[in-house]
């Protein structure tokens, strides 16, 4: 199966006007790819559906706004892929 990065990059290219070859692991979704908040909402919906998760965008935004985490942790493609993989793993883990 394709990596989380590739699957997310494909979703972004399908959902927005960003060409697939412009999306690299170091691309910042907003600053480099120019995705606005409404397109980002569509992308999050596509990721939620593709991976069967609920990307906690609000919690991430709160962490960034409170200075507890840099935006790059969530919005640079390679890190976004890691966060999504973590969410998938957490969902698959047996509950205590």
């Amino acid at each position: 199966m394709a990596s989380a990065f590739d699957r997310i990059a494909d979703l972004i290219a399908e959902t927005s006007d960003v060409p697939r070859d412009k999306i690299t692991p170091d691309s910042h979704v907003i600053n480099d790819l120019g995705i606005d908040s409404l397109d980002f909402l569509d992308i999050v919906f596509a990721i939620d559906k593709e991976f069967g998760i609920k990307v906690p965008v609000e919690a991430w935004t709160q962490e960034v706004n409170a200075g507890r985490a840099p935006a790059e942790n969530f919005f640079v493609m390679k890190n976004l892929a890691i966060r999504v993989e973590e969410l998938v793993a957490a969902k698959q883990a047996p509950s205590a």
Binding site: V44, F45, K54
Partner: protein
């Protein structure tokens, strides 16, 4: 319906965690400023107001799910299909269904029928934001009660 006040829903008839249904009665054309303009001599319910009606039904569904803690606001309209004209005094049945409950947003579908006949449908995305003022939150609760939507006391 009071079109000029954007009061599109007359009565919420049923609601659960994923679906809300409501009834609406399109007002008569005589003296109605919306029908005076749309269109002169040939009054038709504007398609954008049908979409607004489905958006409001979705909004009430989300308010119910969120226990009125946040205000749903329309963010995107997709796949809108307006299948048949709606005339003054038509009776409409509206249905909103949750498709996806996201973080700070939700995706719904809306559908309107009139006496069993398909009128229109749409896919909508709504953001859920904090109420900008307590007065608006109180007004929304009052309006919900008037429409027949159960409202719990604020936490």
């Amino acid at each position: 319906m009071r079109l000029e006040y954007f009061e599109m829903i007359d009565r919420i008839t049923a609601v659960d965690e994923t679906t809300l249904t409501a009834d609406c009665l399109v007002p008569p054309a005589a003296g109605n400023p919306v029908f005076a303009g749309h269109m002169p001599g040939y009054p038709l319910m504007p398609g954008v107001l049908l979409i607004e009606t489905m958006a409001q039904a979705s909004g009430w569904l989300l308010l119910h799910r969120l226990n009125f803690t946040r205000m749903p606001l329309l963010a995107s309209v997709k796949e809108a299909k307006l299948r048949s004209f709606v005339l003054p005094e038509a009776s409409l049945q509206v249905e909103a269904t949750l498709v996806h409950d996201g973080s700070g947003y939700a995706v719904t579908t809306g559908r309107i029928t009139s006496n069993g006949k398909k009128v229109c449908e749409v896919e909508l995305t709504l953001r859920a934001l904090p109420f900008p003022t307590p007065e608006l939150a109180a007004m929304v609760r009052d309006r919900a009660r008037a429409l027949g939507l159960p409202v719990a006391a604020p936490a």
